[in-house]
């Protein structure tokens, strides 16, 4: 059994704050939207929690960003090798095949994570999208909705508050589904708890070839 140090402490802290934050934001978001049919808490409480958490996750985003910027790993981990596109596509297809077929027939996971290459090609492309695009957009649209007057000019840039709200709600829908799938995929390590444990300890266990 080989242990690989995949998740440094700042990233683990960031991840779990983000994870709890996401769940609560999704729930309070739902409470705000379904005030007529959901009774988790009052509208005012839901808005208060949603606003507080929004700012906490905004700060949290910078933990992630600054850590990877200063360690210089951002590029290595998150940017797919666009200079070798064919190979990347081939690897992506292989990874998809593994999840859709190989995993069923007992094939090995084609990707072996290392601190320099944490993510398989599918993870890489999705996390890049999420971290570099979707979360910033969700933060910005969230800020606009938090104070539409203060960020009126920003809202105009988006094409009006309606579109801002549409984007924020759309991403809420996406993240809701994502969180479920993400949690499920986290159980697909060599044991169901392997990846989850790693997210606490930092060390990913890997079965060595016999």
């Amino acid at each position: 059994m080989k242990k690989v140090y995949l998740h440094p402490l700042p990233i683990r802290i960031w991840h779990w704050i983000n994870a709890i934050g996401f769940v609560i934001l999704i729930l309070t978001g739902a409470q705000i939207r379904f005030v007529d049919s959901m009774r988790l808490m009052s509208f005012e409480t839901a808005v208060d929690i949603h606003s507080w958490l929004g700012f906490i996750l905004l700060a949290n985003y910078f933990i992630w960003l600054l850590y990877y910027l200063f360690t210089g790993k951002l590029f290595k981990i998150y940017i797919p090798p666009f200079w070798k596109p064919i190979e990347f596509i081939k690897r992506s297809i292989r990874q998809a095949k593994y999840y859709g077929y190989g995993i069923m027939v007992g094939d090995k996971n084609p990707h072996h994570p290392t601190p320099e290459s944490k993510f398989n090609p599918m993870q890489q492309i999705s996390y890049l999208m999420i971290m570099a695009l979707l979360i910033p957009i969700q933060i910005i649209t969230g800020l606009i909705l938090w104070d539409p007057q203060l960020f009126a000019s920003l809202a105009k840039l988006f094409g009006g508050i309606q579109i801002v709200s549409l984007i924020h709600t759309g991403l809420w829908i996406f993240f809701s589904a994502f969180i479920i799938v993400h949690f499920y995929l986290a159980t697909l390590g060599h044991t169901p708890m392997a990846h989850i444990k790693a997210m606490f300890t930092g060390y990913e266990e890997e079965h060595e070839e016999h």
């Binding site: 705000i32 507080w52 069923m104 508050i161 479920i180």
Partner: protein
């Protein structure tokens, strides 16, 4: 003492009476009376403190028509032997009244009633025989008539307080003050110069319906000398003479020379005609009173002004005759007079909804005079109720709605800072409510309104007033401070210009008549704009303009905005609006130049439609206007998110034997 005095006087009379020479013509009876009553100083003091002379001039009495008659003929039951004890007489008039029936002994009433006018006087009993005919020295009527002047003849009756009651129950005094005539321009005239239908032998009786007819008929007397041609020399006076009678300005008998008036103070000069009930005819036949009450001016804010300071084209020498189409034409032009001094107010008025309505021919809409009156122009009052009542005269519904408000309570409690109508709507530049920025009016008094709302209306973690602004910009104050039905108002705007697209611009863009817009929007004509109809209209507008819909929350019925509740009753529950179940109506609003906006009821589902995203770009109320299809997408995504792991696990369970085999195969 009094008794001794009287007895002494009687004895004295007797002694002296023998010295008084008496004519033989008078009867012995009379002679014996005159022994006392011939003393010129004999008089009696009455209860009314008047002195009545008891002296009878024997010579004059002898010449009178009754000269040969015994005293007892008229004073029955009195002679020397039987002289009544001093009688109680309260006053001269009472005595005359008491004594006059004695005349009827010889002059039977039916004979006195024969000359109609004399009969009328006798019947009325306002004056008594001796007042005209004297008591002891009455001449022969025939001789007197021949001898007296015309004026003297007329005045013999008309000097008294006689009057005539007309069928209209109005009373005309027939008393004539001879002195007044003497001082007048007609001072040398005998009565008959004017009243030429009368003579010593002829006294026609006229039956006028009322004073007005009487005055009009009297005009004929004046115009005999003062002919139409002569009057035309002064056009103002001539115009006046067509609407008012001569008497109204010049009086009855004390006619003063017109030239005297010019030396008067200017206001008095004008008022010498305008204080009377004179009027002016408009081209359309309407009659406008041009009477001015001096008291109105003196009690007004303009009390120190001269007439000509407002009525600039008039003076003591100039009186142009103007022609107006109608009273409303006249009133509209009166604004120019106000504008001489109150330019600022007039300028602001010209922008108002009232001015616009007037331009469009709404006769009910006020100009300066409707609120400020002609000459009663009031001072600016601190009485909030009085100033509001002026508006309520026309805007009754608003007054009723305001009655229940916290502001009315403040007025009733006499609070200095209580608002009147003008506090919010302005006094002269009253604008249509959709462009009047009435929220700003609230902030004029409620100055700390942002910070006070910010105490509870903020989003953590930072307390920003901009969050209050976000709400103020999209909901009227009345939305939360009244308990009436609310609505989402969607105003058609040009998003690029940030200005409303007005009705005429819509008509122009769609190349239709303004009246056809309603049909263009509500195509099925059911009185409600269905979702599809709204988006169709928007799409045709968008093909020509940068049309979009701006939104705000407000009261459904604008008048309800007057019903502001006390602070503790206002709505603080965010979920009142931020709720998909809030039963707000939706209205489409198209602005009109200087007028109230045109409103159409819209199917409320429209704001929750995906089509709202491109058509209502800048208005979004959490919960209330949420796009419903996204809720469905959320549940599909949630189901998808759950279905993926379930499917994958299922496949993994189903394929477990394959993996086992593979492992075992190894």
């Amino acid at each position: 003492m009094r008794a001794i005095g009287i007895v002494g006087l009687v004895i004295m009379c007797f002694l002296i009476s023998y010295l008084v020479p008496l004519k033989e013509a008078v009867s012995n009876d009379t002679k014996s009376c005159l022994r006392c009553h011939g003393i010129s100083t004999l008089q009696k003091k009455l209860d009314s403190k008047e002195a009545i002379s008891l002296f009878i001039d024997g010579k004059k009495f002898e010449k009178s028509v009754h000269g040969a008659m015994d005293c007892s003929s008229c004073h029955p039951g009195i002679n020397l032997k039987n002289h009544p004890k001093p009688r109680k007489i309260t006053g001269k008039k009472d005595y005359i009244k008491e004594f006059s029936p004695n005349c009827l002994n010889c002059h039977p009433k039916n004979a006195l009633m024969k000359p109609a006018v004399h009969g009328e006087i006798v019947k009325k009993g306002e004056i008594y025989c001796s007042q005209c005919h004297n008591s002891h020295y009455m001449p022969s009527m025939k001789e007197w008539k021949n001898k007296v002047s015309f004026t003297e003849y007329c005045m013999s009756c008309h000097q008294f307080d006689i009057s005539k009651t007309l069928p209209s129950k109005e009373k005309i005094s027939l008393k004539v003050n001879e002195q007044e005539i003497k001082k007048s321009v007609h001072g040398k005239f005998q009565c008959l110069v004017c009243h030429d239908d009368f003579s010593k032998a002829k006294h026609p009786v006229y039956n006028f319906k009322d004073k007005k007819q009487y005055r009009t008929e009297m005009n004929k007397i004046c115009t005999k000398c003062h002919t139409d041609k002569e009057l035309q020399k002064n056009p103002a006076h001539y115009a006046l003479s067509k609407t008012a009678t001569c008497i109204e300005c010049h009086g009855y008998h004390g006619v003063k020379p017109a030239k005297v008036a010019k030396a008067m103070p200017e206001n008095q000069y004008c008022l010498s005609c305008h204080s009377r009930a004179i009027s002016k005819k408009m081209k359309n036949g309407e009659t406008l009173s041009v009477q001015v009450k001096e008291s109105d001016i003196l009690n007004s804010a303009h009390k120190k002004l001269k007439c000509t300071e407002c009525h600039k084209e008039f003076s003591t020498t100039q009186h142009p005759i103007r022609a107006f189409e109608s009273i409303s034409d006249y009133r509209a032009k009166a604004k120019d007079i106000c504008n001489n001094c109150h330019q600022d107010a007039v300028k602001r008025f010209d922008k108002s909804i009232h001015a616009e309505a007037l331009k469009k021919g709404n006769q009910q809409s006020p100009e300066c005079l409707k609120c400020h009156d002609y000459h009663k122009v009031g001072f600016i009052t601190k009485d909030k109720k009085a100033s509001s009542d002026l508006c309520i005269k026309c805007h009754g519904d608003s007054g009723k709605a305001f009655k229940d408000s916290v502001h009315q309570q403040a007025i009733d409690q006499g609070k200095q800072n209580a608002p009147s109508c003008a506090s919010c709507h302005n006094s002269h530049d009253v604008l249509p409510t959709n462009i009047a920025k009435l929220g700003d009016s609230c902030a004029k008094c409620h100055k700390d309104v942002k910070t006070s709302h910010n105490k509870w209306l903020w989003n953590p973690p930072v307390r920003l007033t901009s969050f209050v602004d976000a709400h103020f910009n999209s909901a009227s104050c009345a939305s939360c401070h009244t308990k009436v039905e609310k609505a989402i108002l969607l105003t058609l705007v040009d998003r690029a210009k940030g200005k409303p697209i007005k009705e005429d611009e819509v008509a122009k863009a769609l190349n239709i008549d303004a009246k056809a817009i309603k049909g263009k929007i509500d195509q099925n004509g059911d009185g409600k704009v269905q979702e599809q109809e709204l988006w169709q209209f928007m799409s045709s507008m968008k093909s020509k303009t940068n049309a979009n819909l701006a939104g705000r929350i407000d009261v459904l019925n604008p008048n309800d905005a007057h019903k502001i509740e006390p602070k503790n009753k206002s709505i603080k529950d965010c979920a009142y609006c931020h709720n998909p179940n809030a039963s707000f109506k939706t209205k489409l609003e198209i602005n009109k130049e200087g007028d109230k906006a045109v409103k159409f009821e819209v199917d409320s589902k429209a704001v929750n439609s995906a089509y709202a995203i491109p058509n209502i770009k800048d208005f979004y109320v959490l919960g209330l206007t949420k796009i419903k299809i996204l809720d469905i997408l959320f549940f599909i995504a949630l189901l998808g998110g759950i279905a993926f792991p379930i499917g994958h696990i299922t496949l993994r369970i189903l394929t477990a034997p394959i993996r086992r085999k593979k492992r075992e195969g190894k």
